[in-house]
């Protein structure tokens, strides 16, 4: 028994020594032989183990990279969202820059809040009042018009030192005297007060004489009557006539020119600027071109019969651009002289033009104010030009928006 135990112990010790020697040999093998031995083992008994380990490592890497990928995708989505927001903000600011360049002076830029309103929010909860981040310190006064690139947004109601509260055109108290650019029809615009439906947020143009029907797509601008809003700020475009209790006049539904959705940066027109007039600002060739395109498109959808009228509109636009260029040239040579008349964008080249509107001096400097005019009789002192109407052949098809010669021709054809 003791012998067997001793024999077993000797065998165990021998095996241990053998194993230790084998391990040490493996440890101190030359690199080449070691790699060869390891490779042999990897190809034989360690092959399934190596495969298992590799797959497990790959699975872990895939799992970890999944988290990483998800995070990157999240980052990408966030960046894309930011990018979209920045692009739209950039586009808005560019538009506003264009407006600022055309206004030149007499306005204060501010931020309307709540800004970044979602369209749905605006549709379901019409923005009636909003804050503007400029106040009395910047020269803002009550009743000052609040405008954006699109046109009229509202009016300052109360003014604090550093901020103001304005009412939007959706406010029940909002009123603005309006007209068509060629004065073919006058009316009063107010909010279209419906509790629900797709017509929420639209405007009504009331008190339009029966003899002055308006077509869909007709641009409506502020008339300058009443003293609050200068003439020429875009207010909206006619959608259709609506039936109201007022049977003695027509009422039209208008699409506002300046959407309240995502309202952000706005301009507050100061009194001097409003008094000086802004007729050429929203009626500049650039603005008028885009308006003409929109109106022409609207006319297309209504009746596809205006190829000739479109041609006339293009000619009109070219004439306006040429007139503006000449006006710019003469301003550059003599800024003291009264500016040459910039024809109304709705008037065709060579057609009777309005009395020039003094829009001020050079960029950035306040322009000399024009002679004060009685506000209540704003239309009276405007000297109508005495230039006889040209005898150019008029197109026989009216322009859909009723502007220009073609529009006049169309109106002339009306009973």
């Amino acid at each position: 028994m003791a012998r067997a135990t001793r024999t077993g112990s000797v065998v165990d010790n021998s095996l241990l020594v053998f194993c230790l020697i084998a391990s040490v040999i493996a440890l101190f093998l030359p690199a080449k032989s070691r790699d060869k031995s390891a490779a042999t083992l990897r190809r034989t008994i360690s092959a399934p183990l190596a495969l298992l380990q590799r797959r497990a490592e790959l699975s872990r890497a895939a799992f970890l990279s999944y988290d990483d990928r998800m995070q990157r995708m999240g980052d990408l989505a966030s960046l894309r969202s930011d990018n979209t927001g920045l692009q739209s903000e950039n586009a808005r600011l560019r538009e506003l820059l264009g407006l600022g360049r055309r206004l030149q002076w007499g306005f204060v830029a501010g931020e309307a809040s709540p800004a970044q309103l979602d369209v749905d929010v605006v549709q379901h909860q019409i923005l009636q009042t909003f804050n503007v981040t400029v106040g009395a310190r910047a020269g803002v006064q009550p009743f000052a018009p609040v405008v954006s690139e699109g046109g009229l947004v509202g009016m300052i109601e109360t003014v604090d030192a550093a901020s103001s509260i304005a009412i939007s055109y959706s406010h029940p108290d909002f009123r603005v005297s309006v007209t068509t650019p060629n004065d073919s029809a006058f009316g009063i615009v107010q909010a279209h007060l419906v509790s629900s439906g797709a017509e929420r947020g639209l405007l009504e143009m009331r008190g339009v004489p029966f003899r002055s029907p308006l077509k869909a797509g007709q641009l409506i601008v502020s008339s300058g009557l009443g003293g609050t809003y200068p003439r020429g700020i875009r207010v909206g475009t006619v959608i259709r006539e609506i039936v109201t209790a007022e049977k003695w006049a027509r009422t039209y539904l208008l699409q506002p020119s300046a959407p309240l959705a995502n309202i952000g940066p706005v301009f507050v027109l100061l009194k001097k600027r409003a008094d000086a007039g802004v007729e050429t600002v929203w009626m500049s060739p650039q603005a008028a071109d885009s308006a003409a395109r929109g109106v022409a498109a609207a006319g297309d959808s209504l009746a596809r019969r205006d190829s000739l009228a479109r041609e006339a509109a293009l000619q009109e636009s070219a004439a306006r651009r040429a007139a503006l260029d000449s006006a710019r040239d003469s301003t550059a040579t003599d800024s003291v002289r009264p500016r040459p008349s910039v024809p109304s964008p709705t008037a065709p080249a060579g057609a009777p033009v309005r009395v020039p509107v003094v829009t001020g001096g050079s960029a950035g400097a306040p322009a000399p104010r024009p002679a004060p005019q009685p506000r209540d009789t704003a239309r009276a002192p405007v000297a109508r030009p005495t230039v006889p109407r040209p005898t150019v052949p008029r197109p026989t098809v009216p322009v859909p928006n009723g502007t220009g010669d073609a529009g006049r021709a169309g109106r002339a054809a009306l009973p």
């Binding site: 165990d12 084998a22 440890l27 298992l52 872990r60």
Partner: protein, 162 residues
């Protein structure tokens, strides 16, 4: 040891080796569970010391083949640990979880010490840090896992030897 017991122990050994090459890389812990040490200890206590050392050598060489830079280190560590485990099997499998955990801990730490010293890859403060921080941590995790596995594999392994 009967044939049935030997087969069950072999199955447990295979399962632990499988875990070592699947679960361990999948977890990727800084202080990993060494299922291979647990497997070798589990088998070694049921064998004579010499045979246990041989098993340790084979398993160690197979493991070293996958990490050729430390070829031989694992074999040395495992054959020593297996031999000692077989020699101390009465202590190891006393059906006391704390003692078993302690033995797993010591076994793993001894293996790591032998492995790191013979490997010559880490030296100086890094070696000290490895030996006194990460190896004990890994040994603790291994010990806890070993005890848990012993409890789970008790139906398979039956009564402990000794």
């Amino acid at each position: 040891m009967s044939l049935g017991t030997a087969l069950r122990v072999a199955a447990a050994f295979a399962l632990l080796v499988l875990l070592h090459y699947t679960l361990r890389p999948l977890l990727g812990w800084r202080a990993p569970i060494d299922f291979l040490v647990i497997a070798v200890l589990l088998v070694a206590v049921r064998m004579r010391p010499g045979l246990a050392a041989l098993v340790g050598l084979v398993v160690g060489l197979a493991a070293d083949a996958i990490t050729p830079a430390a070829f031989g280190s694992g074999a040395l560590g495992l054959c020593v640990v297996a031999y000692l485990a077989s020699w101390l099997k009465a202590v190891f499998f006393a059906d006391n979880s704390a003692l078993s955990a302690l033995f797993f801990f010591v076994g793993k730490w001894t293996f790591d010490a032998l492995y790191l010293v013979s490997e010559h890859r880490v030296r100086g403060p890094e070696l000290v840090m490895q030996l006194l921080l990460w190896s004990p941590l890994a040994a603790t995790v291994t010990a806890l896992s070993g005890v848990l596995l012993l409890l789970l594999l008790r139906p398979l392994l039956g009564r402990t030897p000794g």
